[in-house]
Symmetry: C2
Subunit: 320 residues, 2 copies
């Protein structure tokens, strides 16, 4: 990903950090902070007592209060790591308890809705730096995290215009410490790009696996058995967290419906070409899409060898 | 994949083997036969002089005639490894030159059309055992092959009723020697199962990548850049050979259109749920699809450790 060796950035150090939600993403980031000693104290809260207890047992947090007020009290950094549909209600509840000068950030997969839902509840003097690490797996919960999750990945920040530059630099430094490359972007643009690269693919994968799920029992068994020929790749994507993805679609409705409309038109054209036996049309499209893969591979050429090896060991595409 | 250690099958040995088409699949199978000394002589033909020359240079074949008659003359086994759309014309041309008692087999991704197109041109006394190895990559051509391609994969045979049992056993033994597990199936059933597990996923992947291809230039660049979040998986599938896939869709039209119709209905329902903010419906579907992944993982549990390691090294999903 990096084209030339970047200067080693200064490590950000926080007195107290508060995690609201400590699942796959939150626990991975907490482990980064632990490993590098970036936080004097980590407080983590979650919806369930079980997850809070796990956060303590796994050593992810020093304290795991059940109240939002206690979690954010005195925190220099508050990281929202719950599904995005919860953000508005959470911000309304913890907003009044924020310390002046605190930074509020998040990891949500949509960004306009986060700005819309959280922004209004943050008092004057608190800095708001929304973010989205482009990294994940299909697993969830506090045990699913690992500190390498963000290494050699992108992280997109979408600070509202006029956000304190120092606060943005601090959040950037945090993600760089996690091994990510950081880009700053307009939230509407983020949502449009991610609708295409992530939200539509997930929607399609959920649909196709859902379609298979409605098959007669005996056919279903064989679909599982012979899944290696394409279908299996979709089932991995469609195993992602249901609540997280519900919230993504509800909160990026316009951009998702827009790209879905285009997709449906294209699919209808293909369907027609198959029905009428228009081989030339099919072949032409299938040739064009090959080029796109090459474009992605070109981006992947800059991935260093040790990164490729790590990804291979995790069973991932080394050239991503 | 194997639940209990299978008895080691007797190796099939052929005097002369003829490959018609020697790309990814043909060259992989030729390498298996070379490695294990299963053929006294391998003849390979292809459309282009370039591929025929490569087949010789790579040591895949002992002879590479440009005439079909010379290729199949005296062959005990004729393996069709070209795109399925060519099979009818090829069979018409080589049929009269087949040696009595020869076995004709193939590796095509659809099976009803193959039976329909090839069957009528085979003379009495020649055995027809159509097959389909469920294995592949997105690469093509004679250099793309490797002998491990079929290891720990399924191979489906669809011999017409009344086919000589000895011929079926010989083809089975060949794929077992390649490391595959063999199943015998009705061709219509094969086409229905594969429409779901392979043809629809490929069609969807081609469409989604094609949709992205029509985006404005600046958006396209960012789609490539942030492709890791789902889209990339589709681009790999959509990089598969255009001619092969054109022929698959043209030759499995009914089954593909049927499952595509179901898929489109399901997608429309999801679209509606997003438009009207029906979170419960979304969440319910997303939960159901998770279970399917578990089902596939259960199938994968039987994959031995060394196979997992090999797959990992090839950048594949170890648990497939
Ligand atoms: N997974 C990915 O691939 C990925 C990638 C990039 C960004 N993201 C974003 O990261 C965020 C978290 O995703 P994740 O994958 O880490 O999810 P996860 O593993 O399911 O964890 C979610 C966490 O949020 C907590 N939570 C849920 N509702 C809450 C509430 N009302 N109040 C407080 N805590 C609550 C959960 O607590 P309980 O365990 O008690 O329910 C859990 O600790 C989401 O906004 C998602 O969009 C995810
Ligand atoms: N790729 C997969 O994932 C996969 C998996 C399972 C089954 N299959 C099936 O395997 C078959 C071959 O696929 P592949 O991936 O090996 O394709 P490939 O790498 O593109 O090779 C195709 C071969 O067929 C030759 N050919 C094309 N037209 C011909 C003609 N009219 N006469 C003689 N030879 C001709 C080509 O010769 P030139 O190089 O001269 O054009 C080439 O040698 C297809 O039927 C496909 O459905 C593929």
């Amino acid at each position: 990903m990096t084209e030339s060796p970047a200067p080693v950035p200064a490590l950000p150090r926080f007195g107290k950090v508060a995690f609201i939600g400590i699942g796959l993403i939150g626990s991975s980031l907490a482990q980064v902070m632990r490993q590098q000693g970036l936080a004097g104290h980590i407080a983590a809260t979650a919806r369930s007592a079980e997850t809070r207890a796990k956060a303590l047992a796994l050593g992810l947090a020093d304290s795991a209060p059940d109240s939002l007020a206690d979690t954010v009290a005195g925190a220099d950094l508050v990281m929202l790591c719950a599904p995005v549909g919860t953000y508005g209600g959470l911000a309304r509840a913890f907003g009044p308890h924020l310390k002046p000068g605190a930074i509020v950030s998040d990891v949500g997969s949509v960004k306009q809705a986060v700005v819309r839902d959280v922004g209004p509840y943050l008092p004057e003097g608190v800095h708001f730096v929304p973010g989205h690490p482009i990294a994940g797996t299909e697993h969830s919960g506090p045990e699913a995290g690992f500190p390498e999750l963000f290494r050699d990945r992108w992280c997109i920040l979408t600070p509202p215009p006029g956000t304190d530059a120092g606060a943005v630099a601090t959040v950037r430094a945090l993600w760089e410490a996690a091994g990510s490359q950081v880009e700053v972007m307009d939230p509407a643009h983020h949502d449009q790009v991610l609708a295409i690269t992530s939200h539509l693919p997930h929607l399609i994968a959920y649909t196709i696996v859902g379609t298979a799920d409605d098959l007669e029992e005996h056919l279903m068994r064989e679909v599982l058995k012979y899944s290696a020929s394409g279908f299996r790749d979709f089932t991995r994507i469609a195993a992602s967290d249901p609540v997280m993805w519900r919230d993504v679609f509800l909160n990026n409705r316009e951009a998702v419906l827009d790209i879905l409309q285009r997709f449906t038109e294209d699919l209808t054209a293909l369907q027609r070409a198959i029905r009428w036996g228009e081989g030339d049309k099919l072949e032409e499209l299938f040739r064009a899409t090959r080029e796109i893969r090459r474009g992605i591979m070109d981006y992947g050429q800059h991935v260093p060898e040790d990164v490729k090896m790590r990804r291979l060991r995790r069973g991932e595409d080394p050239a991503d």
